[in-house]
Symmetry: C2
Subunit: 180 residues, 2 copies
Amino acid sequence: MKIKFVTSNKGKFDEFNRIAKEYGIKIEWVRLEYLEPQGDSLEFVAKKSVEMLAESLDPPFFIEDSGLFIKALKGFPGVYSSYVFKTIGNEGILKLMKDVEDREAKFVCVIAYNDGDVHVFKGEVIGRIAHEMRGDFGFGYDPIFEYNGRTFAEMGEEKNLISHRRRAADEFFSWLAKNF
Amino acid sequence: MKIKFVTSNKGKFDEFNRIAKEYGIKIEWVRLEYLEPQGDSLEFVAKKSVEMLAESLDPPFFIEDSGLFIKALKGFPGVYSSYVFKTIGNEGILKLMKDVEDREAKFVCVIAYNDGDVHVFKGEVIGRIAHEMRGDFGFGYDPIFEYNGRTFAEMGEEKNLISHRRRAADEFFSWLAKNF
């Protein structure tokens, strides 16, 4: 069983590849930037992306998209998390959250798989926005996302066992192992 | 001479319609939500949008897209200005700009016109981010965008004579009057 994973990010491919192996699934890296539509939810964006991608790539293949959704900021930075990280970064998020009491946030990962039909899988972790950056592990918003008292960046490899990405990948690969 | 303007926003249609008349151009309102890609610049997003739109709509037609680009925030909120407005709003921008000395910002408007080929027109206004919201006119970021000492929301109809949207529309309609 071999399916394509379309991403321009080597780190992402490596992480999924490790998990896929646990399920006896081989994934092939298709290193490609693809067009993502704008939209209100990760599900919409991922679903449309694999539909459009099928015009130039033969199924089966999948993509992954993630975001940080902060409750007190109406879901910001959400679908545009990576753009927001590149511009205002963790410093900006901490500034926006200054003096905000409700610090609930979730990391969401969505996988869209195209095998002729489109299937969407989702993983979430609920945590809170820390009051300052802590930890050196990981990337992106990991230093400000707290789960059970520690930030993702303080958790080291342990993060990869409970992350939104891990949860979505487990959903997807266990479904795939039964349905391929 | 009659061309289609694709937008789901009546206010936008009315504003362009007024300007088009000055050039003797008739525009027809096509009320439609269309797919916009994600991207790093308004030009890219608008260009791709009218290319994709041509799959379901016959040229000639045009669309418009605008954004606020704040220098000290690396261009944020930029391409995603309307999403950012719906989530963190003017309050969020003011919070991000608290204690920031360099307050330079620009409003940019891009028009993409598809007549078989794609043509892009652009208008810009350079101003600064105010320290607080002022004025009741207009919409969106108008109350925090200062131009020559007054915010767009304090300028009333005068804003429509010097705005980024006015400048892009003038570029476009004067080109069109010569080239149609």
